[in-house]
Amino acid sequence: MTIQDDETLQMYLEESLEHLADIENDFLAIEENGANIDDDLVNKVYRAAHSIKGGAGFMGLTNIKNLTHEMENLLGKMRGREIVPTPDIINVLLTAADQLKALMADILNSNDIDISHHVRALQAILEAGGAAPAAPAAPKADTTDQKPAGGIATKAAPAKVVKQTQTAPAAAQNDENTLSLAFPDGGMGLVVDRAKVTPMFSQGKCVYLVKMDVETHIHACGKTCRSVLEEMEQTGIILSSNFPLTPAAELADDWTPDVPTMMVVFGTILKPSDINVLFEIDEYCILELKADLALYQIKGDPVPTAVEPESFGVPAPDIQTQAARAQTAPVTTVDPSPVAAPAPIDLMETALSEPEKNTGTYLEETISTYAEAPLECVADKRGGKVEHETTSLRVHLSLLDQLMTLAGELVLSRNQLLQSMGSNDQRSSEVAGQRIDLITSELQEAIMLTRMQSIGNVFNKFPRVVRDLARSLGKQVELSLEGKDVELDKTIIEAIGDPLTHLVRNAVDHGIETPEIRQRTRKNKTGQIYLRAYHEAGQVNIEIADDGKGLDGNKIAAKAVEKGLISDEQAKLMSARERTNLIFLPGFSTAEKITDVSGRGVGMDVVKTNLDQLGGIIDIDSEPGKGTTIRIKLPLTLAIIPCQVIVTGGERYAIPQVNLEELLRIPADQVNRRIERVGDADVVRLRGNLLPLIRLSDIIGVTSLYTDPATGETAINRRKTLLDRRSKKSPAIPSDDASQEKQTPAAAGQDTPNRREQLGNDRRYHSVGALNIVVVSTGTMKYGLVVDHLHDSEEIVVKPLGRDLKKCKGYAGATIMGDGRVALILDVSNLAHMAGLTTVEGTARAAEVAASERDAVHAARDKQSLLIFRSAENEQFAAPLNLVERIEKIKREDIEHVGGKQVMKYRGGSLPLFRIDECASVQPLADQNNLLVIVFMVAGREIGLLAIGPVDAMEINLSLDGSTLRQPGIMGSTIINDRTTLIVDIVEIVQILNPQWFEKPKKTKAEEDAPAATILFAEDSSFFRNQVKGSMEKEGFIVLEAEDGVIAWDLLQEKAQDISLVVTDIEMPNMDGFTLTSKIKEHPAFAHLPVIALTTLAGDEDIAKGKQVGIDDYQIKLDRERLIKSIHEFLKAA
């Protein structure tokens, strides 16, 4: 019972745990094979149990030894085909293995843990010959004559009957209530109550008759009687003795009984092969009383103590030679008083809270309560793991050798370096430096390897988890494991167990349906769960896929809305995938289990948090009815991680590569086009998706630095002053805009329009500088982090931050850079949180943006530059920027009222002024002193439109609603910056207010073009088609519409004779304007036709390209006047 020194114990533990790790899956395999027993497999488990037992015996770990012994026995029977492994039997074995693990986890106290129920369960199976669960209720102990343990199958009985006939004399002097036991040597005997003995058998215990000479067996061995009794009390019950029995604890240390030889009848769970570990005496001094109430030698189990007539009643002087004989003997009656029963076992049994100490029912109970077991088992294991994790690690010897070699190399290189530094030899310093560089990397790798463990360590427990859970839920589940060899850092392996278990359990519990449901939905009755691990891009990916019922995103979203985690609108805008990922939201499932929502989500946020801590990423993909796939990405190790180094505000920061999706640099001239503001968030257009942007300097509150594009020098203060000046002095930019700017992270592209207005139109399309965006992913969401500069990617060593900085959630730690300075490591998911860009908000916003984007793309794929302004405070208007000549700031008193019209002095002439409310029913011009005059060129004249600020120029995907708000002077409406914006039709306004300006040209044209010319007009946007068509028809032309280039081409061939001119859009589906034009120009029959291209914005490149393919003229879509003029000119020329 003495625990050996620590190291031995540790070694034993490790070895045993290794055995145990395999045992579980082997049991499962045995179960699967059923009656078709795989000898190798059973042998393997048998050997494992055996070596655990052997070690336990050596170490004095009685409990472990006893338990493994029983398992071994059972496995022995299995091997001998005496017992067929049924699921129930395997269950008992598995729980026993769990108990073993628990014992190992708390090895020092293992002997104090009650394992009797496991032992009994095992023995019951053994005795029942495998007919375990059907065991009938055993009789209570008071039925004297009956064979105990009614569970004993008849199969086992005959053999014993034979034995009994031979050994009958051994228990000859029996009467109804007592049993006399004595050693065959004719020495002393004992009388014991049958009522006490029989329950022992039914509890699966063994009863022994033991004699110990106080002098030779106890004192000579350095023990005391007290300690012997104590040990006996701990392992069993003394049923009877030849001395008055007192609980050992009450005895004096030097107590000796008043008899020279102690004799006891001892009931214990120890098997005959182990009993002597306790007593450590000659084997002939111990006899076993079996269930047939005959005495047997403890050695040579099958041979009953021989009863030879000639030796009967003859006491032999030589005890040794007599050992083999059994004999009835005179009985020294000893009061079998109740004092004899020491407490421990009884207590334990009451602790088990079994109504009856009764084997038969007990076994049934074990099995029926088994359903509840897995949970506890898992918990047990977990608890156990914590206690002895990180104590030691097994490393392959070759790896250790490699490490030694490398360490040696390192020392050599260091010497070399020191030497060359001493002699000032730069060349050899360099060489040494390179060597050290090389060796360090190798050393790092090798050391990492020692920490690497295969993920199989985690995976291997899942077959059991799945099996147990499936059994208890009445489901059929098959688990496939793949990639067990994938290696991960030890710390990660340890930490990932729980989240994975959770996910796997969820898959069984909530994912896989019951067989009935599966059959109804025409699925295979057996559900499949795949667990797969693989390497990818320096990370480990783990996939948990099931073919169950999947997750219903709508229900999840509804639940999230109900819980107030997201708003209704947000939910509506989410993609199915985003909805399923809602279950990771903290607070999504706090207390109650939401089985009505296909269940999953119980603690999913916890899973995510755990993985976040590991630097991992989790993502769910689910198809209702088909199944769910959960993907986890993990770094290989936590200690050294590759990072992207970035600079903001002059300080370096590291972003873990795990979170890094890509780096994005938006050149200055594209900033304007690709960055947009949606609501109060900035987004960047990235391959058709919109990515929310946050500016690192804003979240962590540092001043961003930028490099002046003109001078190339880094300007620290400049942006700051720019901001300051604008917010204080600029009359054109009201303060609310500036403050909004400050509150929310604004991308450079966003504030530029405002600034541009001030700086003058020449800088309109130039941004302050290129934007560096680090696209990061937190698993559930992606966003762009705007930083000042991008540096290299580096491998960094993570160092923890001090306690004063624990509250800075934006950092995951710090690292030391090559120059010795410290850089902070950013925690991208917390940054998103700090920026108010929680998963939902971010995605909702992105979805909202994406939705409007889709519509916009649908309506018109090319962009329109608009000037945004107001007439009344809260009505936003826009006009095509191309039509705008200038913007003038005037005072109200500058307006003159002359000849019933409003005019102002302008460049030496009078500029007629119009107000939108003059012709359209909109709110009247704001009554304020500072007004803006937007100067347009209409009908060859300059006119001014009175407006107020703020003005802004914006390039947007114009999706015009040409009907809802259509009225004279207003061509339609669109949404800009979340506001409904009316698009002003300046020509129409002038036409309505000053029709005479248009009369003359109209008349002459109409006369000239008496035979109305037919124009082929290709345009994909119906709004523009109607607009332009309308204005052309107004001019008296016949217009043939085509929705794209292909249709136009067909029309052209069909009605070649009629068509005298082609007007085409550039951006069109199927065939664009360029292709159409080149086709027309290449075709001899049409080459003569003039082609006017319509575009929203005529870039130089486009014009050049257009010229190349033969486009005769470019006109801007909403500038109808010029278009008409151009048409006339071409027609005239033709």
Partner: protein, 161 residues
């Protein structure tokens, strides 16, 4: 605990456990205030000023620096004690102390002498020493010309809630 110690201080058993006898005080200036600290508390004194700023850190955190591979948080003692802000100059030093198994640097204006102080002569701190809360101090040691406030490093570095 802290409070009761202060009360006991009247009976001269305040402050530290083994406070009988002599103690060597490392003295330093925070602005103009002369402070001292048990020299055994001091790990080292350096003048590494290459700190990395930590945006959003508490205002008394000057930054973090690399002390031979360990990240050390540097705390501006003047801020922590509520004294006027000190400027970093060539006299500035970091006193690295080990507190709760963590190295923390205290930024001070300059370093003074090591002073032998007799605990018997250390007086309990008044409620307020030159505008600094008394409970940051273990006591006040009187020299001929000056007073040294003996800082309780652990209390100064205790986490703010």
């Amino acid at each position: 605990m802290a409070v009761s110690r202060q009360h006991h201080s009247a009976t001269n058993s305040f402050g530290m456990q083994s406070q009988s006898g002599m103690v060597e005080l490392a003295t330093f200036y925070v602005g103009e205030a002369l402070c001292g600290m048990d020299i055994l508390k001091v790990q080292e004194i350096n003048k590494l000023m290459e700190m990395t700023q930590v945006p959003q850190a508490p205002d008394y955190v000057m930054g973090i620096l690399n002390l031979r591979g360990q990240i050390v948080t540097i705390i501006d003692l003047s801020k922590k004690l509520g004294l006027p802000q000190i400027q970093i100059n060539e006299n500035s030093r970091n006193i690295i102390v080990n507190s709760d198994n963590e190295y923390i640097g205290l930024l001070v204006s300059r370093i003074g002498d090591v002073v032998d102080a007799d605990w018997q002569k250390v007086e309990p701190p008044p409620a307020n020493i030159g505008g600094v809360q008394g409970n940051f101090f273990k006591g006040v040691f009187k020299m001929e010309d000056r007073l040294i406030g003996i800082l309780d490093a652990d209390k100064v570095l205790a986490e703010e809630i």
